[in-house]
Amino acid sequence: MKTGKRQEMAEQKADQRRRNFGEVPLGYSDEQAVLEAERCLRCKKPKCREACPVSVPIPEFIGHVREGRIREAAYAVWTRNALPAVCGRVCPQENQCEGQCIVGKKGEPVAIGALERYVGDWARGRPGLGRPDIAPPSGRRVAVVGSGPGGLIAAGDLIRLGHEVTVFEALHQPGGVLVYGIPEFRLPKAVVASDVAYLTKLGVRIECNVLVGRTLTVDELLGKEGFDAVYVGVGAGLPSFLNIDGENLIGVYSANEYLTRSNLMKAYLFPEYDTPLPAGKSVCVFGGGNVAMDACRTALRLGAEKVYCVYRRSRQELPARAEEVRHAEEEGVEFIFLSAPLFFSGSNGRLAAVEVEAMRLGEPDASGRRSPVPTGNRRSLACDQAIIAVGANANPLITATTPDLKVDRRGYIVADEHGRTSKLGVWAGGDIVTGAATVILAAGAGRLAADSIHEYLQSL
């Protein structure tokens, strides 16, 4: 069968977009969506669906797109994923659905992510669209802690199964990492807001400004607040620092702080918005994951003259998605591979330079990647901002206030493959269980936990 060439999505040109916060890929036109949908082989045993952490019925929705039935396509996606416009944009499809696509064995795989985005965007432009069927009220109440992707997926599943769902969010806006972490140019906040609005339309209650662990405890949720089950999907929530000298100088940021200022607090619109984040002249970002790419590209857009991504291994080991790396390079981010920071130095309390040491690759470590080995060659890089994007640790607020919730030695919550924790009635998933991962893996964990919670609630 002839499958034709994969439809290329239009993008904002690199020299323009590097200085604005508008979205980079612009989405498919109606014609492109149909042409791309026609490339799908309609496999009898769709491997793409098996590779999707939330089992979106991919061939089915693509079939609807091919026939121009976008409404039906939206309903098909919604049966398994309440966040199509989000996931279509930020999932690492190349490692999941598209990585298994049969068309991809010989040529380029069907652009499943782009099509999911197309369907999600179509639906989001139509708030009057009906909603999927909801089971009759079960009389059971579930508290979801954290409104990131895992919490939202779990909430969407549980509400459709007839349970009453309240999502508690510590920040002032729902979405978790989707609003504080991922930048506007990669995931417009209006997209998150409309996927969240879809959930509230289904009946999910969202209460912001509640920090579970402080404002309420898990025991109080199960006690006086009257919930039958709790899903903890709070993310990792504690930035890793490098623990080197000079890290408290002004100009040194965790990626979480840098991105939260820009994204959640809209510092890129300062002084129209009140939270500041001055542009750096020369910015060094440490780390090689998606968060590091987001930080690099945000720094450019805020007006930095030079942005360096400093990574201690080589290009091959970069954990970021290839597309993010490509976007960053096109925009002018310079990569400094095989370099690790030793200390920061400054004057009058402000960052002026970072000393880095050249590395070489040694034996593979626990992650299977070749580990960096110091060479002793040092040099100094002038910089007035440094952003540390080397991962996160487990935030202790919930676990410290829930004594019977078992944690591992690094403080992550111990949960089985269904998200069940050591505490009856409490499930957990996403980064607070696995350590830092991706949006869709968190969503997948939310899905599995929701199934297990449903089973539990029926047994009560």
Binding site: L171, H172, R214, I250, Y253, P271, D274, P278, N348
Partner: protein, 284 residues
């Protein structure tokens, strides 16, 4: 939205007191904890330590000086209007136990933060000796409230317009000398130079000191690390590990420097706010 139940002005208009309806916070808050507020949709998130907590009314009281855009914005809100977001209670509560004699030292608006802590120590069966100070008499706040919970209250002003002419450290030193080894703890809350000087004095007498740090914050949940401070050479987050720390181990210089990180931007933001207010006034 969190309704402002009352608004009071102290210290010749330089200090504002707001009682805010925040039942979830009030039900849980304990002395030493703080909240993060956002005045409106475009507002910054700022931390303020609670001056009082009333679980029955479901309210908390905050007290602040107008020093920039966000505090000016909060100060402009009347009773009946609302603060957009209030998150709390945040931080670890003060470790209040029966230890004997506790010296509570407060400077400026720090006295408001100190009051519930001092009251807590008093209720836990301690003898509370309080020392409060301000630049000048009209700026001194909460004198009577502090007197009511203290076995002894000493007052000073920088300009000598009331009480002892000098700094709280003078009085702290005198008190520690009088008490000999009788003081179990000093709690010092106020501007950084004051806390640093108090810790120096209490250190000379070998008396432990608690201080409450007002680091810059964004989320207040431990997620961003903006509020990191150096305590005993280690990075601590004021929002979750604090805001109270062993004052003898805090690197006050580093804290002071970090507080100035956004001085230019803050000045710009505040001047824009004042211009806007002027235009509004002129338009009226």
């Amino acid at each position: 939205m969190f309704e402002i139940l009352s608004r009071q002005v102290l210290a010749q208009g330089s200090v504002i007191v707001n009682e805010i309806h925040a039942p979830r916070v009030a039900a849980k808050a304990r002395p030493g904890q703080f909240v993060i507020l956002r005045a409106n949709e475009r507002g910054e998130r700022i931390p303020l330590t609670m001056a009082d907590i009333d679980p029955e009314r479901g309210s908390i009281t905050i007290l602040y000086q107008v020093v920039g855009r966000t505090t000016a914005l909060l100060a402009s809100l009347d009773k009946g209007q609302a603060v957009m977001d209030v998150l709390g209670p945040l931080g670890s509560p003060t470790d209040i136990r029966q230890v004997g004699t506790v010296i509570c030292v407060g400077g400026g608006t720090g006295v408001a933060v100190l009051h519930p802590i001092a009251r807590g120590f008093r209720r836990a069966g301690n003898t509370v000796i309080s020392i409060i100070g301000a630049r000048s008499r009209p700026l001194l706040i909460m004198e009577e409230k502090m007197r009511a919970i203290s076995a002894d209250l000493q007052v000073c002003t920088d300009d000598g317009s009331y009480g002892h002419h000098g700094f709280v450290t003078d009085l702290l030193e005198r008190t520690l000398r009088t008490l000999g080894s009788g003081a179990a703890l000093a709690v010092c809350i106020g501007p950084i130079p004051m806390m640093r000087a108090c810790c120096r004095v209490s250190g000379d007498f070998g008396v432990p000191a608690y201080v409450s740090l007002n680091a810059l914050m964004v989320d207040g949940t431990g997620m961003c690390g903006c509020c990191r401070v150096s305590v005993d050479g280690a990075i601590k987050f004021a929002c979750v590990d604090g805001p109270e720390f062993d004052g003898h181990k805090v690197d006050f210089d580093a804290l002071n420097t970090r507080l100035g990180a956004y001085r230019e931007a803050e000045a710009l933001s505040y001047s824009r706010f004042r211009e806007m207010c002027c235009r509004d006034e002129a338009g009226r």
